[in-house]
Symmetry: D3
Subunit: 139 residues, 6 copies
C-alpha cells in the first residue's frame, strides 16, 4: 500500500517595471477622465509590478520538491519578464484590444502560465501594482 | 454566443492608528490580566492597523476593471477611516458591548462593507494588528 | 434562540534562522547538482525562515478572541523555535530520511501543530524561505 | 540660563507613480542602448517612486515637535506629488534639458524643498526607484 | 606594531505598541486642535513603534563583534520595552512635563541609552511611528 | 565659468543566503557558548543576507548618472555574490583567521569594493543579517 504524497503550494515572486495609460477608445475624453482619473493622464505613468505565481503539486518523495525552481524561473523569465519588463504595456500586442489595467495584466499572465507551464498545477496569479493594490486571478 | 467575463479579485489596503484596552467587565481584575496579559494595562495602548479589503467581480470588458477604486476608497474613508483613525476603540459605540479585540474589529469592518458596499462582491476583510498578527473574516 | 459565533482566522508569524543542504543520497553528485543547483553546495547555506501559522475558530462572545495567543506562542516556541532556530536542519531527526527542502519543513511544522495544538482549528502553515519563495501546506 | 533645545530629525515618506525613458539626445541609438540598457526602450517604462524628505530643527519646548507635519505634507503635495504623480517625467519642463534619471529627479525634488520649504532645515532627499535602488542628495 | 581595530556600526531594532494623545496644557482646545490635528482627539490613539539603536565600536579581534548583543538586548528590554510596551505614554513620568510626541520619545530613549549603556558608543536612536514617519536623535 | 556637478549617492541592494557558525578557536567550549550563545551551535545555522553598497560621485551632465549600474552589478556579482551566495562562510579563505560575524563579513565586502571598484567613490557598506540586525562599515 502506498501513501499519496502530500500536496504543497509554492509561491514565487518576480518583479518588473513598466508603464501604462488607462484609456478606453470607446469613451470620449470626459468619460475616460471620469472612469480612470489620473491613470488617464495622456503620457502615461508606471509602476514596479510584483507578480506572485502560486503552483502546487505532490511533494516528490525523493527530491522533496513540488517542482524544479529552475524550470519555473526560466519559464517566467522568457514568457513574462522578457515581455513586460521595462516596457510600455499599451504598445504590446496583448493590449491592442483591451485596456492594460492590472486586472487584465493579471489575467494575461495567468493565461501564459496556464498554456505553457506544466511542471506543476497552476493555483493562481497575483499582481501587486503598488503597496496598496493587488489583484488575483484563478480559474 | 457570449463568453462570461473572467472574475478577478482586488485587494486594497488602508491604514489607521488607534488605541484600545482589552478588558472584559464580566471578569475580575485577576482574570482579566490572565486572559489579556499586557493588553489589559489600565490606560490602554495602541497600534498601526492595516486593513485589506478583498473584493471580486467580473472584469468589465470595456473598462478592464473589477470596480471603480474611487468608489471603494470613498466608502472606506467615510465608513472606516473617519470612524477608527486616531480613535480610542473602547470609546466607540461598536465596542460598548464587546471587547475591541482585533477579531471583533475585523468582523465590524466586514459588516460595514457587507451592508453598504455593493459595487463588487465582498470576499473577505483582513486586519493586521502588528507585523506578527493578522486576522481575517469572511462569511 | 442563539446565534452561532462568527468564525475568524488568526495568522501568527514566527522567525528562525537555520542552515540546510539539499542533497539526496539516492542520487550521484552530478544528478544532485542538476536537481538542486547551488543549494547542493557541499557545506550548506542558510536562511532566515518566517513561519506563519493560520488557525481559526469561533470568536468567544466574552473574550472576543479566537484563541489565547500566550498558548499559541508557548507551543510554537517549545515545539518549533527551540527545535529549528540556529540549527542545521540536516542534522535533525526530522530530516534523516528526507531532504530538508522548505516543502518538507513546512509539512513537518504543520504536523507538529496538527498533533499537539488543539486550542483552535489549524488552517494552514506557510513558510517563507526568502522574500521570493514561500510554501504552504494544509490537509 | 536657558538650555538650547535638542535638535531632532524627521523623515517623512511620500509615494508617487510615474514613467520615464532614459535617452540622451547627444548620443546615437547604439550609444543610448549601451549607456541605459533596457531603460532606453523607446516607449518608456515606469516605477512606484518613494520620496523620503529628512528635515531637522530644535524640538519646540511647548509643542514637542520639529515642525508642523500638516505644513510639510501640504508643501509636498502641492509641489511634488501634484507635479510628478501619474506623470511621464520626460514630458515635464524639469526634464526638457536633462535626462529624467532618478539622480536628477532626486536633485530636482531637493531643490524644490530648498527653495520653498522653510519651516525646518532641509537635511537631505532620498528617492527609492525600486526595492533595489535608492538615491540621496544633500548640499 | 599594532593596527587599530576597524570601527563598525551595529543597528538593532525593537518593537513596542503604545498609545498617546498630543495635547499641550498651555494651549486652549482650539489651539491644540490646530497644532496637533487628529492626534489631539481626546481619548488618544496608538502606534506600533519601532526603535532602532545604532551603536559602534572597534570590532574585537578575537570575537569579531562590536558588542555583545545579549547585553544590548537585556538593556533595551529592561529599560525601554518594559517601560513603554503596551503603555499609555501620557501616563508615564517621562511625559508629565512634556508632550509625548515621537520627537520627545526618541530623545528620551536616547538619554536612557546614553546614561546607562556603556558596552559600545551610542551613535543615534531612530523611532519609526508609522511607515511614513521616522525620527532620529543624536548628540 | 563651469559649475561643479552635484554629488549624488546611490545605494544598491544585493541578496545572498549563506550559513555560518560563530566559534573562536582561542576560547574553550564554555566560553564560546557564553560569547556567541545559540550562534555557536556546532552544526551552524544561516541567514538571508542583504548587502547595500552606497557609492557617490558627480552626476554626469550628459547621462544624468552617478555610475553605470551594469558595471556595479557585474562587479558585485563576480566578487561578492559568486563568492558568498549559498556558501558556508566558515569554509571560505576570508574566514580562516577570523570569525565570520556579520561585522567581519561587512568589512570584507567593503574591502573588496574598495580595492576593485573604482567607477564611483565608495561611501559605505551595510549588511542586514536579519530584519532586526544590521551592520555598517566605512573608512
Amino acid at each position: 500500500m502506498t501513501v499519496a504524497a502530500p500536496i504543497a503550494h509554492l509561491g514565487r515572486r518576480y518583479h518588473f517595471a513598466a508603464s501604462h495609460r488607462l484609456h478606453c477608445d470607446a469613451y470620449d475624453d470626459a468619460r475616460n477622465r471620469e472612469v480612470y482619473g489620473k491613470c488617464n493622464h495622456p503620457h502615461g505613468h508606471g509602476h514596479n509590478y510584483t507578480v506572485e505565481v502560486m503552483v502546487s503539486g505532490p511533494v516528490d518523495a525523493v527530491t522533496g520538491m513540488v517542482c524544479d525552481l529552475t524550470v519555473l524561473d526560466a519559464f517566467a523569465t522568457e514568457k513574462i519578464l522578457t515581455k513586460f519588463d521595462h516596457m510600455n504595456l499599451n504598445t504590446l500586442p496583448e493590449f491592442v484590444n483591451q485596456v492594460p489595467t492590472t486586472e487584465n495584466l493579471c489575467i494575461e499572465i495567468y493565461r501564459v502560465f496556464k498554456e505553457g507551464f506544466h511542471a506543476a498545477r497552476l493555483d493562481r496569479v497575483r499582481v501587486e501594482e503598488t503597496g496598496k493594490n493587488s489583484f488575483e486571478y484563478a480559474e
